[in-house]
Symmetry: C2
Subunit: 320 residues, 2 copies
């Protein structure tokens, strides 16, 4: 949460002048998004988000992300829609960075998760998976199973600082996952980072999905497993089967999943837990002193991983 | 610029439910205000700022600050107006902190200062001084001349880290100011921190004055001197007499100042330069490692101080 790039009022007026949005009436740097600089701007036409892409997002991926958001918005998925300038271009440059204006979504992300939230997320994820089936672009998942070994190797030597014996435990899990990872399951566009802070609600209703900057092609059920991990564990790290049942059955009511997908759920959930554990572990060990972003606790995902290691069948997730 | 206190969605809904503002539709932590946590919230009634007061603002001063904003807003000074809850109370508590909702002001603060901005600020400051004449509360200026010696003493030993010989130079200036500080000049409510980031414009017109958390009773011309220093020096630290003339003559067109005030301007401007130099020097030497707020350069104000030391008469500020 930070504003990495200060945009001056004159630069902003010049930039927004390239759109049909009317005059800029206010501009506030907002403390959201760990990857980019975001401003909430108000113009004669309403509220918008101005995003400047900082180094962590690869510029060559931006047409995919923006194209996806536009594709989804066109199919009534509530996500930010890139706004085009008068010349037809959505992706521009501001202060030396790639920059875009997207529509503003009302709502707040929930701090205390209720079962109703989980059902709404399951339904919205399934709708996203269906709506993106005819999206023409693809992007490889750079954080899928083949990336985990180099990630773990980059942290293994110092993993013991976080918990003694952690590296051994993770190498053991990694070997299991490399051997047992599904070869073929229904694939498509995954959001791949649908954590609570990326989902807005007004009251009990889902009003927005944001932050598509990890979106990629992968197994759809893997995306669902990521949501299961992100939404269905309590603060004390215990698994809430009611929430899981709510999420999975709501998903299934929109997009029926195959027996193969259901059977793979425990291994997919282990894989997703390892993926977030590994990136958090890396960030934990490598974040610079005095950085403005506090790294997240990798061990939260160790508990989640260990829960799924103990799951004998997908019935543990509340489905028949 | 930071969000020090995370407010959860449920706490927020409960809090805003105590007002007649309709439902909360969004809430973004904004990267403004070094002293407090600020959220831009949108409700059924429009946009508002929710402020949580962190430790640096003394709670016993809040009724003065809020009362002043309300008083000024009632006299058409464009400043945030505290919103009252249904029980009539404006100052409440949220997440264990004093908290208030104020009206949202459109506009942006100018990064590149033009003479027109300086005239607008001069006019608005005079209007503020007049509008607050019948404000009933008072607050001593905790950062006036009698506070500068203890402030300097707290930094003197390490001032040489910033510039060799700085402490001697400042003690010398302090002695001059203590001997020559005006005994009596027209007094009243001063904003006392009217820097460009506290003044909003839409186009060339001033649309808002914010951040009243240094407001206090002091010489009105001292407040004007603070603006002169904050607005009329260029980035290369040269003095722009056209801007100064614009500011002072616009001020005078709204509130005529006496000969005594004009004559005192050079010493008041030196005093105000020393005041900001000293607080910046203290923050520079005492800010914690890895703090989210980058301290401002104290030496910017040394150049400003030295400019005024060379001023023989107030004619140097562009007035006859």
């Amino acid at each position: 949460m930070a504003v990495y790039t200060e945009v001056g009022d004159e630069d902003l007026e010049r930039f927004v002048g390239e759109y049909d949005l009317g005059p800029v009436l206010s501009c506030k740097g907002i403390a959201e998004g760990v990857e980019n600089t975001n401003y909430l701007i108000q113009t004669g036409s309403g509220s918008f988000i101005l995003t400047l892409y900082e180094k962590r997002v690869a510029e060559e991926d931006l047409p995919f992300f923006l194209g996806l958001m536009e594709h989804l918005a066109g199919k009534a998925i509530p996500c930010p829609t890139p706004v085009h300038g008068r010349d037809g271009t959505a992706l521009r440059r501001l202060c030396g960075r790639p920059a875009v204006i997207v529509t503003f979504l009302k709502g707040m992300w929930p701090r205390r998760i209720r079962t109703q939230h989980c059902s709404e997320v399951g339904r919205a994820l399934a709708a996203l998976h269906i709506a993106s089936q005819d999206f023409a672009m693809t992007r490889r998942n750079a954080l899928s199973v083949d990336s985990w070994r180099p990630l773990l190797e980059a942290s293994a030597q110092r993993a013991g600082e976080v918990q003694p014996g952690l590296a051994d435990l993770l190498f053991h899990e990694l070997a299991f996952l490399e051997s047992n990872w599904p070869k073929s399951l229904p694939s498509g566009i995954c959001h791949a980072d649908l954590f609570p802070d990326n989902v807005f609600f007004i009251g009990d209703s889902l009003s927005g999905l944001i932050d598509f900057y990890f979106a990629c092609n992968d197994f759809l059920a893997y995306d669902l497993a990521t949501c299961l991990n992100a939404w269905c564990f309590e603060r004390d790290r215990s698994f809430n089967v009611t929430k899981a049942r709510g999420m999975l059955s709501a998903y299934r009511s929109v997009r029926a999943f195959s027996d193969a997908e259901l059977t793979a759920m425990p291994v997919l959930a282990r894989g997703s837990a390892l993926r977030f554990l590994l990136t958090r572990l890396y960030d934990w060990l490598h974040h610079p002193e005095g950085a403005m972003v506090r790294p997240k606790d990798p061990l939260e995902y160790l508990t989640i991983l260990q829960f799924h290691q103990g799951v004998a069948s997908p019935g543990a997730y509340g489905l028949d």
